[in-house]
Symmetry: C2
Subunit: 325 residues, 2 copies
C-alpha cells in the first residue's frame, strides 16, 4: 500500500534524474475556461510522459541481483519508454510487451532506448498480462506493472508533491486537479500526495468518451469495465478497468470523473501548441480539454490540468493543427 512516506522515498530516488516539470499558463486559455488554468507539463518529463517517474521508482528500488536479471513491462507506449529509459540508466536489460497497433513513434522510441520489444495482438484478444507473465516467468525478469504496483504509484505521486508546491507558489489553495486516467496510477499517486500536502486540492480523473471506466466506476462505487480496449486516439489512457490497488484510492480521494470527446482532445492539442508551445498527445490533452470545455463541471477560481504526455505521431499532430489551430 502506497503511503506518503513511500512517495517521499521515491522523490529522493528520483532527485537529479526526473525533471521538475513547469506549470504553464496563458491568459488566452484563462479566457476560454473562465477561470485561471494551469498546465502541469509532464510532456516535458524524460521520455515525454510522467511514466518515467514510476519506471524509475520501481527500477531503482529493485535489489541489485534482480536488476541485473532484467525487467519486463507491458504498455501501450509511455510506460514502455519510461521503464526502458530507467532500466537503461540502471544497466538493467528490459523486455517490453506492446500492442502491435501502438503508435509507431512509441514502439520505435522504446527500441531506441535499448529495450527488446515483444508485440502482441490487442484487437485479436490476446491478454498483455498473459504475454507478460509468460515472458517474465521464462526469463526470470521482474515485472513492473503499469499502475497496480505500489512503487509505481509512489513514483507517479512525486508529480503530486510538485503540484502541491507549485500551486502554493501560485496562491492556489483550493482547486480541482484534472488528471488523464487509464488504470489510475497517476491519479491515485497524485491524490495520495495531495491528501498529505494539500488536502484542498482534489484529483478528478479525465477520460475519453467510450472509455470512461473510471468515471463510471467512481459513480457506481464499484469497478466497471469498458466495452472495448482500443479504437480511440487517446491510446495512452485506454485500460479495460480501474486497477485493483488504484480503485480504492481513487474511490476514497477523488472527485467525480470528467469525460471529453476525441474532437475536444484534438482542439486542446491545437491550443497547447498555440498558447503554451508544448506538444501533447490526445490522451495527454484530455485534462486540458476538460479544463477548457467543461467549465460548468468544475469548481473554483483556478484549475490545474496535468498534461500527461506528448508522444504523438507527427501526422496526427498535423491533423490537429490543420483542423483547429
Amino acid at each position: 500500500m502506497t503511503s506518503i512516506a513511500m512517495i517521499e522515498a521515491a522523490a529522493a530516488r528520483l532527485k537529479g534524474h526526473a525533471r521538475l516539470t513547469p506549470m504553464l499558463s496563458s491568459p488566452f486559455l484563462d479566457e476560454i475556461a473562465g477561470r485561471r488554468v494551469f498546465v502541469k507539463a509532464e510532456c516535458l518529463q524524460h521520455t515525454g510522459s510522467f511514466k518515467f517517474r514510476g519506471g524509475w521508482s520501481a527500477v531503482s528500488a529493485l535489489p541489485s541481483e534482480a536488476r541485473a536479471r532484467g525487467v519486463l513491462a507491458y504498455s501501450s507506449g509511455n510506460h514502455a519508454q519510461g521503464v526502458a529509459a530507467a532500466a537503461k540508466a540502471h544497466k538493467a536489460p528490459a523486455v517490453i510487451v506492446m500492442p502491435a497497433d501502438a503508435p509507431q513513434l512509441k514502439i520505435q522510441n522504446t527500441r531506441d532506448l535499448g529495450a527488446e520489444v515483444v508485440l502482441y495482438d490487442r484487437v485479436g484478444g490476446e491478454s498483455r498480462e498473459a504475454v507478460g507473465a509468460r515472458q517474465a516467468g521464462e526469463r526470470g525478469l521482474a515485472l513492473i506493472k503499469p499502475y497496480d504496483e505500489p512503487l509505481v504509484i509512489a513514483g507517479q505521486g512525486t508529480c503530486g508533491l510538485e503540484i502541491a508546491e507549485q500551486a502554493a507558489a501560485e496562491g492556489i489553495t483550493r482547486a480541482d486537479i484534472l488528471v488523464n486516467c487509464g488504470g489510475g496510477g497517476l491519479s491515485s499517486g497524485i491524490a495520495l500526495a495531495l491528501e498529505a500536502r494539500a488536502p484542498d486540492l482534489r484529483v478528478r480523473p479525465v477520460e475519453p468518451e467510450g472509455f470512461d471506466d473510471v468515471t463510471r466506476s467512481l459513480a457506481a462505487g464499484e469497478i466497471r469495465q469498458n466495452p472495448s480496449q482500443s479504437g480511440s486516439i487517446c491510446d495512452a489512457i485506454l485500460t479495460p478497468q480501474p486497477g485493483e490497488i488504484t480503485f480504492p484510492i481513487l474511490s476514497r480521494l477523488c472527485g467525480p470523473g470528467l469525460v471529453i470527446t476525441e474532437e475536444e482532445a484534438m482542439r486542446a492539442m491545437a491550443l497547447a501548441f498555440l498558447r503554451l508551445k508544448i506538444v501533447l498527445e490526445p490522451g495527454g490533452a484530455a485534462s486540458l480539454a476538460a479544463a477548457l470545455f467543461r467549465p460548468d463541471k468544475i469548481g473554483g477560481e483556478a484549475v490545474i490540468a496535468v498534461a500527461t504526455g506528448g508522444n504523438v505521431d507527427a501526422a496526427l499532430f498535423q491533423e490537429a493543427l490543420s483542423r483547429y489551430a
Copy 2:
C-alpha cells in the same frame, strides 16, 4: 551600460512574473550532436519567447507617470508581445509598430494582449525607427527599443543567470552557449550574466544564412550590415545590423558566430517536436540546429542551445513536420 547589478535588479523585478524556464535534453539529440545537448526552453516563457523578460524589465522600471502615458515598441513580433503583456500587467497603454508581413499569429496575439498595433511596410523601405519615433513623439509614449536599451539587455540577461545555475546543476562548467541573434540583446545580456557568474560558459551567436550580420561583424571587428531585411523564415532574428550598444559587448565577450540554413532550422523544429515536446519557430530553432548540425565548429563535451521562441504559424510548423518528422 548594463552591469551585473542591473541584471540582478531586473531579476528581482521579474521574480514571480517571468517563468524560470527548464533546460531540456534527450539522448536522441545527444546522439546526433555527438555531445550532450541542453536546450534552454525560452519558448515556454510568457508570450512564447524570452522577449517578455526585457519587456517586463523596461516597463517595470518606468516612473509611474511615464507608465501611465504608455509605451511604444517596434518589433517583428516577439518583442511586441513581450512589451504588450508587460504593459498590460502594469496597466500601461501600449502601441506596437509591426511590419505588415510579420507572422499573422504574432500580430493577432499582440492585439489580443490589448496593444494598439500600427503596421508599416518593411519591404517598401519605410524605417521602423522613423515610424516609432514619430508615434512616440506625437503621443508622449516611452519608447522601449528591442535591443539597444540597457534595461532590455538587463532583462534578457536574467536568462543568463538561470543558465549559470542550471549548467552548474548539470555539472557543466565549460561549454558554448548558442544564442539565436538578431540585434544582440539576448546574446549580450546572457554574455554579461555569464561573465560574472560562469565565465567558462561562452556565448556564440547563431544566425540564418544571408542574415549573418553579427557573425561577419564579429569576424571583422566592426559593424557589418545585412544586404536585405526580410525574406527568411527566421523572422524573429532578422535585423539590419548589430546594435550600437550590444556590439561592443558581443565583441568583447562572445565566441565566433555560427550560421545555419533555413532547412536546418526546420529540421531542428521537427526534432524539438519529436524529442523535447516543445514548439519552436524557425528563428527559435537556429541555435538547436547549430548544436546538432555544426558539431565540428563547437568545442567541449556539452553544449547549451537557447531556444528563444515558439511563435510560429501552424502552417509552417506542419510543413516542418511533414518534411522532417
